[in-house]
């Protein structure tokens, strides 16, 4: 039982790490209807920029600020060169554009900073400690706390500020938002910049966990089933989805793995997400689309 609880809690905490990536997706999907495959590449770009600056002797917060600035510039460039020319195109076109975008960002990050693996130390030890007889990872708890803070900050931003309210207006109805004078381009840029910031946070945590390397951009594939379960339009859904995926993935690895062979964590979340979809085609918290001819 204790072992089961340990695996479960470890899985839940690991799931929150997936949620961090998924939140970036949700932000962009909500505000611009773009399914942003480049989120993983943005995570890589942010982490790689940050760690390379750190290695060149820039202090922590200086590197953080510079990386944030570069994410802002990236958001601006994306809005100008990709989103604006593609406005009013079908969502599938925009998705494929973000595929291209992820190639560009990955290539750019590696051209600028090289392809070798960098270690990243955030000063949090990964030693397990004991709570009520259960071994928990300190790092995982820290990551979970960060995810919680991030969600809190984002919900404050969305609910209490003028910018946030216009973001929600755009998410609700782009045309109506335009007609009351909200600048769509500005909103898009802000959303992509915020997603860049979320990507930076995710990149730091994931980078500290796995090392900053190319495979960071592949966590986008981990975030996808999370999104599916939670629904594309709900930040809370991303958290819940992350918890479900993380827990079931770890439990399956431990209990199902020995039966059918190891390495199932690559596809298990997808099959789980697929089963969820068959019951609820728009995820748990997703908005159900009403179709008209």
């Amino acid at each position: 039982m204790e072992f089961f609880l340990e695996v479960l809690i470890g899985g839940l905490l690991a799931g929150l790490m997936y949620s961090l990536v998924a939140i970036g997706f949700v932000l962009i999907y909500k505000a611009s209807g773009v399914f942003n495959f480049a989120q993983g590449a943005m995570v890589l770009f942010a982490a790689l920029t940050f760690v390379s600056l750190l290695e060149r002797g820039v202090p922590f917060w200086g590197a953080f600020a510079v990386t944030l600035l570069s994410m802002l510039m990236l958001a601006w460039a994306i809005e100008r060169m990709v989103l604006r020319p593609l406005v009013n195109r079908p969502p599938i076109t925009l998705f494929m554009a973000t595929l291209g975008l992820s190639y560009i960002i990955e290539g750019l990050a590696q051209t600028l900073w090289g392809a070798q693996v960098h270690g990243l130390d955030l000063g949090i030890s990964d030693e397990p400690f004991e709570v009520a007889g259960l071994l928990l990872s300190q790092f995982d708890l820290f990551a979970a706390g960060t995810a919680g803070l991030l969600v809190l900050a984002l919900s404050l931003l969305f609910n209490k500020t003028r910018v946030g309210i216009s973001l929600r207006a755009v998410a609700d109805d782009q045309l109506a938002a335009l007609s009351i004078g909200i600048k769509l381009q500005k909103v898009w840029m802000i959303v992509w910049a915020v997603a860049g910031f979320v990507g930076l946070v995710a990149g730091l945590l994931w980078g500290a966990r796995l090392g900053v390397q190319f495979s960071l951009s592949l966590i986008v594939l981990k975030a996808l089933p999370v999104l599916i379960i939670g629904g594309f339009t709900s930040i809370g859904g991303a958290i819940v989805g992350g918890l479900i995926i993380g827990a079931s993935e770890k439990l399956a690895e431990v209990y199902l793995g020995p039966v059918i062979g190891g390495g199932i964590e690559n596809w298990f979340p997808y099959v789980l997400a697929l089963l969820f979809l068959l019951v609820r085609p728009a995820g748990i918290f997703g908005e159900r689309a009403i179709e008209r001819v």
Binding site: I104, G263, P281, A282, V293
Partner: protein
């Protein structure tokens, strides 16, 4: 063009349904086929066959498979490489385990197996749509690779999961020389393109396009959605499966499951974006582009930037160029290279006049 359609009329329904209605186009096409089948095997050298022509043909075939599903039936898929892997491994096992299985029949059964797997992963498409469907195809991608590596039976208990090509012999003729493999690939590709072209211009093809344009509306006018979508998955996977078998046997010779990973799926998706979605010709143009661009880039950098740029950087540069081209095409020419070719033909028809 140098010819006009004046004076050439269709006098029967059969003639009306022809692929090329003008005899100049018809003879041009026959000449091209004759050139590819008869002249190229003597003109080309081994480098051209092994490094350019065979991958070009196989990739255009794979592009065709995905194009039927995504370009015509509107179901986006990121699992193309998985269906290629199924085709390759199934064809290998049919060859291995059934004595005297003819090579082409093995390919066919490989394609059929891929089609069955495609139908299984296409089943959710009735209930889930759009981006959510990506999950189904990605699940195919990961599950198939995992199954093929996990269970040794599929690779005949090879320690690293690698399969090697069986002897490429058809009716006593050996096709294992580079020119022979080229002819084999070309023959299979030509047959499948003919098949696909006819399907696309049949009632099924029109049903696919109706589903692509709006599946709710298609359902309202009485198109059986499930059957139409599943047929798209089946036929697309069939072609992808055969392309996978050719990729393994005619191009690489030996292949492991990870040769069919997600980046291969992306590559095939890029072929149809660049070539043109919903176009048969586009598959050739896109595949030629994907095969030739890396060669061109490395040659250019070898000539102009020798020693300045190291190979790793070149690969990054190639990625950036690919990504930029994808976005460029989506913005400027969403219908791809095929549309450029069509525009050129329309312009040249009235050349030297402008309107």
């Amino acid at each position: 063009m140098l010819y006009r359609e004046s004076g050439q009329f269709s006098t029967s329904y059969l003639a009306e349904g022809r692929l090329f209605k003008l005899y100049q186009q018809r003879w041009g096409f026959y000449a091209l086929l004759a050139f590819a089948f008869l002249a190229v095997p003597y003109l080309g050298n081994d480098y051209w066959f092994s490094a350019i022509l065979i991958p070009f043909l196989v990739l255009s075939l794979a592009g065709l498979g995905l194009n039927l599903l995504t370009g015509y039936a509107g179901q986006i898929s990121l699992g193309s490489a998985a269906f290629m892997a199924v085709g390759a491994f199934a064809a290998y096992n049919f060859q291995l385990r059934i004595d005297g299985m003819p090579l082409l029949l093995g390919f066919f059964f490989g394609g059929v197996t891929a089609a069955l797997v495609g139908v299984v992963f296409g089943l959710p498409s009735l209930r889930i749509k759009g981006f959510y469907l990506l999950v189904s195809t990605l699940a195919a991608q990961f599950v198939v690779t995992w199954v093929l590596t996990q269970f040794g039976w599929f690779s005949n208990y090879n320690s690293s999961g690698v399969i090697s090509a069986p002897p490429l012999v058809i009716l006593g003729h050996d096709f294992s020389s580079p020119a022979g493999r080229y002819l084999l690939t070309l023959g299979v590709a030509a047959a499948l393109f003919w098949f696909a072209h006819n399907i696309v211009h049949s009632e099924l093809g029109r049903r696919w396009m109706a589903v692509r344009d709006m599946d709710t509306a298609a359902a309202v006018i009485g198109i059986p959605i499930l059957q139409t979508k599943l047929l798209a998955f089946a036929i697309s996977s069939f072609i992808l499966g055969i392309a996978g078998a050719l990729w393994a046997f005619a191009y690489l010779g030996t292949v492991e499951p990870h040769g069919f990973d997600l980046s291969r799926s992306f590559q095939i998706l890029f072929i149809i974006i660049i070539g043109g979605m919903g176009s048969i010709l586009g598959n050739f143009l896109g595949a030629a582009f994907i095969v030739l661009l890396p060669i061109l880039l490395s040659n250019l950098s070898a000539t102009f930037l020798a020693g300045v740029v190291d190979p790793g950087q070149l690969e990054n540069l190639q990625k950036i160029i690919f990504g930029a081209l994808i976005i460029f095409f989506l913005i400027k020419e969403p219908a791809g290279l095929a549309r450029l070719w069509q525009a050129f033909r329309e312009r040249s028809r009235i050349w030297p006049l402008r309107f």
